[in-house]
Symmetry: C2
Subunit: 329 residues, 2 copies
């Protein structure tokens, strides 16, 4: 008899998530039927998107959404033999029974010296998000100047490094001096702490006096309005996230963007990585080879213990992580 733990959303978040919005439950898993496998979670992901998508894709009482790297520990499915590692979409659970339809095998020939947790970060969804935002949405070209905010996060740190690989000038905004130092290590041309600069507009202008060709937007809110004013004519904006507004109880408001968009003929596009799913295998191979070549560094912020998932999630929303926030079971 196999038991599994899981974190349930007891109440839709109202403002910033609270411990009491989550409940740890335990349940017994059934015996496997033909076609099924038993999974044991090794690493779980906490990501910003979980905050808004809990509202759109979950009801109270559901297990929290999310991905994990898991090991197949029992199998009645030839596609997923015992010992195989998979990325599963089963949410915040220690163990689960799956028919395989929500599983992706971890990339074949995953290198022994790369932690499997990286399949949730730089060589996983956040890395793909960075790559597609740059290639499919922005069409970033060598020599251009790119701005990215939340730059020390899982997506932002990949964005800056991929833009450097593409021969661009990269400016990153982040929320602490330690993170600024991290961005410099990663090769960002300019990085600043938006919490301590005298003016965001001044910081953006000093970092790129002739403006930005591209802006990879993770933050939204007031930052977005100031960044608009620093775009070059025909600037492109990839809207990936809006973390500064996820915990609003009432919508924040700001100046309407239309006039700036007309005068500079700006283009702004919202996107999710799932749009290019058919490209994932090839894209993951490219991310992995950049990683192996040392062109793409993967920093992780690891929280130990499944019982700490809500704390890891809330810490990530507060920006306590540098790099990808991961929970190790």
């Amino acid at each position: 008899m196999v038991k599994a733990k899981m974190w349930v959303l007891t109440k839709h978040f109202d403002g910033f998530p609270k411990e009491s919005d989550f409940q740890l439950k335990e349940e017994e898993l059934p015996e496997l039927e033909d076609g099924q496998v038993l999974l044991e979670a090794l690493f779980l992901s906490v990501d910003p998107y979980m905050r808004p998508f809990s509202r759109f894709r979950m009801k109270e009482g559901d297990v929290m959404i999310g991905t994990q790297v898991a090991k197949v520990v029992q199998s009645k499915n030839a596609a997923f033999p015992v010992g195989a590692h998979v990325v599963g979409r089963g949410g915040w659970r220690t163990r689960a029974v799956s028919d395989g339809s929500d599983l992706l095998p971890v990339m074949p020939d995953w290198p022994r010296d790369v932690s499997l947790s990286v399949a949730l970060g730089t060589v996983g969804m956040p890395g793909l998000t960075a790559l597609y935002g740059i290639e499919e949405v922005l069409g970033l070209k060598s020599g251009e100047t790119l701005l990215v905010n939340a730059a020390a996060g899982a997506v932002g740190s990949a964005v800056g490094q991929i833009a450097k690989i593409k021969g661009c000038r990269v400016v990153g905004s982040t929320g602490s001096d330690t993170k600024v130092a991290f961005l410099k290590e990663l090769g960002f041309d300019e990085a600043f702490n938006y919490k301590t600069v005298a003016s965001l507009e001044g910081a953006l202008r000093d970092a790129a006096p002739s403006g930005y060709d591209c802006f990879f937007e993770n933050v939204g809110g007031p930052f977005s309005s100031v960044a608009l004013s620093q775009m070059k004519d025909f600037g492109r904006i990839a809207v990936c996230g809006s973390i500064s507004t996820y915990n609003d109880t009432e919508s924040q408001t700001g100046p309407y963007p239309q006039m700036s968009m007309i005068v500079k003929q700006l283009k702004m596009e919202g996107f999710m990585q799932s749009r290019w799913e058919r490209k994932h295998p090839e894209s993951l191979r490219r991310l992995m080879s950049w990683l192996k070549e040392g062109k793409l560094q993967s920093r992780e912020h690891i929280t130990e213990g499944f019982q700490n998932m809500p704390a890891a999630f809330m810490g990530m929303l507060r920006g306590e992580n540098t790099g990808k926030a991961i929970v190790a079971v």
Copy 2:
């Protein structure tokens, strides 16, 4: 000795323009030098863009910016013989001396039964704006549903009709019941008076219950936020104007658009017709042939008398015109 009248911006507009922001002046024009022509204005254009661009492109004391259809009445420039009609960019003037660099000949073989004023409207800048917004920015495809606001204006009325030519379903928002009737005459599938509907959101949803593929934005402000909520996934928005915010003394604010743009993966692009200038000759020919075939109707709102230019301009900003606002000298 030739005298010219002109309207000067005495003071940058602060809020809605006032009579006292304009001054009518008279000056003597010099004798023509080689390469120059003397122009006499027949029709002058008043357009929404003049309000925001007065701030960006003019200083106090400048003649108001704008285009006109003029006749060459004296010429020392073989390219523009006496009697030729041109579209000139000299601003709000009755007569002017030009070296030709700011002039475009009115399309050759302009039909005798089409008023030359149409070169300032449907077969001119507003028509081109509609066409490029639809073809170059939105990439509108047959069978799609398009929303356009300020739909009875010079640009909006062309947008709706061109979208009908392309086999689309067209919904127009406008500011009076008379204009609603006009839009129905033009072939719009749905039209409503945004000032009298119980709720804009409800009106947009009733007119297109499954949402909008494309949105041609002329209004900005609160309308833009409501329209975002009614877009389909992967919806495209061409931002042409923002007339509801042009007269703000303080920026109006509204909810940030990023979250809606991410969840629906929307694309929004600001544009000006000048970007596709090299396509103008071919585009004007297409607009003219649609006009001749009766597929594109051109309605004009004509104010008589150069002395009434400020009144015509302010009336247009208040939405008093149906179709293109023109001043006949």
